[in-house]
C-alpha cells in the first residue's frame, strides 16, 4: 500500500469512526419552537383511569389544535424518576412531562432551575381555584425546593389517598361487620387470625408496609406534626408518642399474626394480588388500586377510611411539569388546561380515579361515587398527610430496609425509630 493511499484510508477510517462515535452519543431533535408538535411524556398505563383520561385529552387537544401533532412517549415511573435531571438538562427534554411530586423529586428539579415557573399560567387559567389546599401543596415549591409555598412548578390533575379495601364476602362469611373504630378493626383481625387467615395483605419489600406504619403514626398526629415532618416546620422526633405508638403497634401486629412475618420479601404487586385472589381480606393502600380491583376482583368488596384518624396518606397526584428547555410551552399549557376540563375530569372519575375538578352529578359508578365522596371528606378536613418517604431523598429505601427488620423481629421498635431518626436528620435541610 502506498503512503498516499494509506493516508487516504487512515483519514477515511478516522472520519468514519468519529461519525460513528458521534452517532452513538445520540442525536437530538433540538430546534426552535415550531408550534406544530407537542412532545408529551407520561407513565400512566393505558388501562388505568389516568391513562384513559390522558389519551382522551390527546384526542381533544388534536381536535382543538388542528395541524398540531401530539408526539406521545410512554415512559416508566422509575425511568422518569431516575433520568429526569439528565434529560431535562439536555436538548431532548419534552414539552410536557408527568413527574413525581415532593421535595426530593419535583422540588429538587425546581431548585436546580430545570422546571418552568407556572405561577402566571395557574392564575390566568384558574388552576389555582380548582385545586384544594391539600392537593395544591405539591404544586408549589420555595427556593429550597420545599413544597407547600412559593412558585408553581407543577399541576396535578387528580388526587390520591389511602383507604382500607376489604373483602365483603369474607367479612360476611365470618360474621364481621364493617369496622367503624380501630377497636372493631382489631377485633375483626382477631377473628380472622383465629380462623387461620392473615388479615392484612402486606409487602415488606415495597411501600405497603411503611404505609401501615405511617398510618398508625398519623392516627396519633395532627397537622402541625405532619408539617414538622414533611415541611420541616420544626423538629421531628421519631421517639415521640405518635412514632413510638406506630412502631410498637406494628411490631405487635406482626406478633399477633395480623401481618405475616413472611411478607418481608413481598412486593406491592404481591399484596394486591393476595387481596384480588381473596387470600387476604384487608389491604390498606392507595386509590391507584381502585380501577384494577373494579376489573379483577371476583367478590364483593368495599372501602372505608382508616378508622379513628383524621389524617391519612394522600396528596395531589403526579404532576404535569413543563421543562425549562421545552420548546412549545404554550401548547403544553393548553394541554394541561384540557386535562383540567370537566369532560376529562368526569371521565377520570368514572374510570376509578380521583378527579380534582369533576362534576359529581356526572359520576355514575356507585363505587366511584364512594371513592370521590371519601376524598371530599378527607379534603374537607384537611386530611391529606402525604407519604412517609417524601421528606428526605433516599428515605424510601431506608424505610423499606428498616421496616423489613421490624417485620422479621431483628430490630426492636426503639432501634428502628433511632435508625429512622439518623437517616432523616442526615438528609433533611438544616433549619
Amino acid at each position: 500500500m502506498s503512503t498516499t493511499r494509506r493516508r487516504v484510508v487512515a483519514t477515511a477510517a478516522v472520519t468514519l469512526t468519529g461519525a460513528l462515535l458521534l452517532a452513538s452519543c445520540g442525536s437530538s431533535d433540538s430546534g426552535s419552537p415550531d408550534g406544530k408538535t407537542l412532545k408529551l411524556w407520561h407513565y400512566e398505563g393505558p388501562d388505568s383511569a389516568m391513562g384513559v383520561a390522558w389519551n382522551e385529552a390527546i384526542k381533544e387537544f388534536e381536535k382543538t389544535h388542528p395541524g398540531v401533532k401530539v408526539k406521545f412517549e410512554e415512559k416508566g415511573f422509575e425511568q422518569n424518576q431516575k433520568t429526569a435531571p439528565m434529560v431535562l438538562n439536555s436538548n431532548d427534554a419534552p414539552d410536557l412531562m408527568e413527574y413525581n411530586k415532593g421535595n426530593a423529586t419535583a422540588g429538587l428539579l425546581s431548585k436546580q432551575g430545570l422546571l418552568t415557573d407556572l405561577t402566571a399560567e395557574a392564575t390566568k387559567r384558574g388552576w389555582d381555584k380548582k385545586l384544594s389546599a391539600g392537593v395544591r401543596t405539591t404544586s408549589q415549591y420555595d427556593t429550597n425546593g420545599v413544597m407547600g409555598s412559593g412558585k408553581w412548578y407543577g399541576v396535578p390533575n387528580y388526587a390520591e389517598y389511602t383507604m382500607v379495601f376489604y373483602n365483603k364476602d369474607l367479612f360476611k362469611k365470618y360474621g364481621i361487620a364493617q369496622p367503624t373504630t380501630l377497636d372493631q378493626l382489631t377485633a375483626a383481625m382477631d377473628t380472622f387470625v383465629s380462623k387461620g387467615i392473615t388479615p392484612l395483605a402486606d409487602a415488606g419489600a415495597e411501600y405497603v408496609a411503611q404505609q401501615y406504619l405511617y398510618q398508625l403514626a398519623l392516627s396519633r398526629a395532627d397537622r402541625s406534626w405532619v408539617d414538622k415532618y414533611e415541611l420541616y416546620k420544626g423538629k421531628t422526633d421519631f421517639h415521640d408518642a405518635a412514632w413510638t405508638y406506630a412502631a410498637t403497634t406494628f411490631a405487635d401486629w406482626v406478633k399477633k399474626g395480623y401481618i405475616s412475618k413472611k411478607s418481608t420479601s413481598l412486593k406491592a404487586e404481591d399484596a394486591g394480588v393476595s387481596f384480588i385472589q381473596g387470600k387476604s381480606p384487608i389491604l390498606f393502600s392507595g386509590s391507584w388500586w381502585y380501577g384494577r380491583f373494579q376489573t379483577e376482583n371476583k367478590f364483593d368488596w368495599g372501602t372505608f377510611l382508616w378508622p379513628g384518624s383524621d389524617l391519612t396518606l394522600g396528596s395531589g397526584g403526579n404532576l404535569w411539569v413543563v421543562p425549562k428547555g421545552a420548546r412549545n410551552k404554550d401548547l403544553a399549557y393548553d394541554f394541561i388546561d384540557i386535562t383540567m376540563s370537566r369532560k376529562i375530569q368526569n371521565l377520570l372519575g368514572n374510570k376509578g380515579g380521583v378527579p380534582v375538578g369533576a362534576d359529581t352529578a356526572a359520576i355514575t359508578d356507585p363505587k366511584a361515587k364512594t371513592l370521590i365522596a371519601d376524598f371530599n371528606t378527607l379534603s374537607g378536613r384537611d386530611g391529606l398527610a402525604f407519604y412517609p418517604d417524601w421528606p428526605v431523598a433516599g428515605f424510601y429505601d431506608v424505610l423499606v430496609s428498616e421496616t423489613q427488620k421490624l417485620i422479621t423481629g431483628s430490630e426492636k421498635p426503639d432501634a428502628y425509630l433511632s435508625a429512622l431518626q439518623t437517616a432523616y436528620d442526615k438528609g433533611a435541610p438544616k433549619t
Binding site: 500500500m1 494509506r6 484510508v9 487512515a10 477510517a13 478516522v14 468514519l16 469512526t17 468519529g18 460513528l20 462515535l21 452513538s24 424518576q81 431516575k82 435531571p85 439528565m86 431535562l88 438538562n89 426530593a104 429538587l108 428539579l109 431548585k111 436546580q112 432551575g113 430545570l114 415488606g204 419489600a205 405475616s260 412475618k261 413472611k262 411478607s263 418481608t264 420479601s265 413481598l266 404481591d270 431523598a393 433516599g394 424510601y396 429505601d397 423499606v400 430496609s401 428498616e402 423489613q404 427488620k405 417485620i407 422479621t408 431483628s410 430490630e411 438528609g427
Partner: protein, 322 residues
C-alpha cells in the same frame, strides 16, 4: 487462549525481523486498532475519569457540583453499609466464581470423559447446552422466575418440600435475613455454572487423548486422571474462568435488583446496588461516584493480579517444557 495469542505474536515478530521490515506491519495493524481504541476511550476511559472527578464533589446530579476533596472517600471508609455490602460481595465471589469453577470442572470432566464416551457426544452436547441455558436468559427473567420459585407461601420450592413430606424445611427464602444471601448465592450458582462448564469442555478437547489412555493402562482411576491430567492440562482455562467470574461477582447487580433489592434489611446489598441507590435514590451523586470508583479500582487491581499470576504460571510451564 492468551498464551496461544502471545506465542503467535512472538512468531510474527520473529518473522518480521527476518524480513527486515519490522515496523510496516505494526503501523498497518495500528490503523485497524484505531476504531476500537477510540471507542474504548469514549465509552470507558473518559466516563471513568469523569466519574472519578465527580467523586471529589458534593453533587445532587443537577446544578453545579461543589468540590469536596476527599470527603466522600473519608465517609466511605467509615460507612458500615458499604463494608457490609462489600462483605456480601465476597459471598458472591464464592457463589459465582469458586463454586461454579469447582462444579464446572467436575461436570465438564464427567460429561467429556464419561457421558461423551458412554452415551455419545450428542447427549453430552445437549447436557452442556442445558447447563449453559441460564447464561443465555436475561437476568431479569431468571430473577423473576426464581422469585416465584422462592416465594414464601406459593413458591414452588416450598410447595415441593411440602409435597415430599419435608414441610418442616420450608423457609422464607428471600425474606429471612439469615437465609436471603444464601438463597441469592444459590441462584447465582445456577446462573453461572454454564460458563465454566463450556470453557472447560472446550479446553478438554485440546488435551491429548493418549495421556488418558496411557494413564488408564497404568491403572489410574477417574479421580486420579482428573487430578493429574485434566487439572494441569486446562490450567489456563481455570485461570481465565476464575478471573472472569470473580470480576462478574464483584459487579453483580441485576440479580440482586430483581430478587431482593438488597434486602431484607440490607442483608443482600452489594456495592454496585449500593452505588446505584446512592446515585439515583438518595441523589448523592458524588458519593455514589466514589463507591463506583473504589469498586473499579478493586476490580482492576484483581484483574491485573490475576493476569500476572496467569502469565507467571504459563511462563513457568513454558520453562519446564523447554
Amino acid at each position: 487462549m492468551t498464551a496461544t495469542a502471545e506465542r503467535g505474536g512472538e512468531v510474527v515478530r520473529r518473522h518480521h525481523s527476518r524480513t527486515g521490515h519490522p515496523r510496516r506491519p505494526h503501523s498497518s495493524y495500528a490503523l485497524f486498532l484505531l476504531p476500537g481504541a477510540l471507542a474504548f476511550l469514549t465509552v470507558i476511559v473518559v466516563p471513568f475519569l469523569m466519574n472519578t472527578g465527580v467523586s471529589f464533589t458534593d453533587w445532587q446530579g443537577v446544578g453545579s457540583p461543589k468540590w469536596s476533596g476527599l470527603a466522600n472517600y473519608r465517609e466511605l471508609m467509615g460507612d458500615s453499609e458499604f463494608w457490609a455490602s462489600f462483605r456480601h460481595s465476597l459471598f458472591m465471589v464464592v457463589a459465582m466464581a469458586a463454586v461454579p469453577t469447582v462444579l464446572g470442572l467436575v461436570l465438564a470432566a464427567a460429561l467429556f470423559d464419561f457421558v461423551g464416551k458412554h452415551f455419545g457426544t450428542r447427549i453430552a452436547a445437549v447436557l452442556r447446552a442445558c447447563f449453559y441455558l441460564p447464561q443465555v436468559l436475561p437476568v431479569a427473567v431468571a430473577g423473576i422466575v426464581w422469585s416465584w420459585i422462592l416465594a414464601p407461601d406459593n413458591g414452588s420450592l416450598n410447595a415441593l418440600l411440602r409435597a415430599v413430606g419435608l414441610g418442616s424445611l420450608q423457609q422464607d427464602w428471600l425474606g429471612d435475613p439469615d437465609i436471603a444471601l444464601y438463597s441469592v448465592m444459590g441462584v447465582m450458582v445456577w446462573v453461572q455454572l454454564g460458563f465454566p462448564l463450556v470453557v472447560f469442555m472446550a479446553g478438554l478437547q485440546r488435551v491429548d487423548p493418549q495421556l488418558y489412555e496411557a494413564a488408564e493402562l497404568d491403572g489410574a482411576g477417574w479421580w486420579r486422571r482428573f487430578g493429574h491430567i485434566t487439572l494441569p492440562q486446562i490450567r489456563p482455562e481455570i485461570y481465565v474462568v476464575l478471573l472472569w467470574c470473580t470480576i462478574a461477582a464483584l459487579k453483580v447487580f441485576g440479580a440482586v435488583y430483581v430478587l431482593t433489592k438488597g434486602g431484607p434489611g440490607g442483608a443482600t446489598d452489594v456495592p454496585s446496588y449500593f452505588s446505584f441507590t446512592t446515585f439515583f435514590e438518595k441523589t448523592q451523586v458524588g458519593y455514589g461516584a466514589a463507591i463506583s470508583t473504589v469498586l473499579t479500582v478493586i476490580i482492576l487491581g484483581l484483574a491485573l493480579v490475576g493476569l500476572k499470576l496467569q502469565t507467571r504460571a504459563e511462563d513457568a510451564e513454558e520453562g519446564l517444557r523447554a
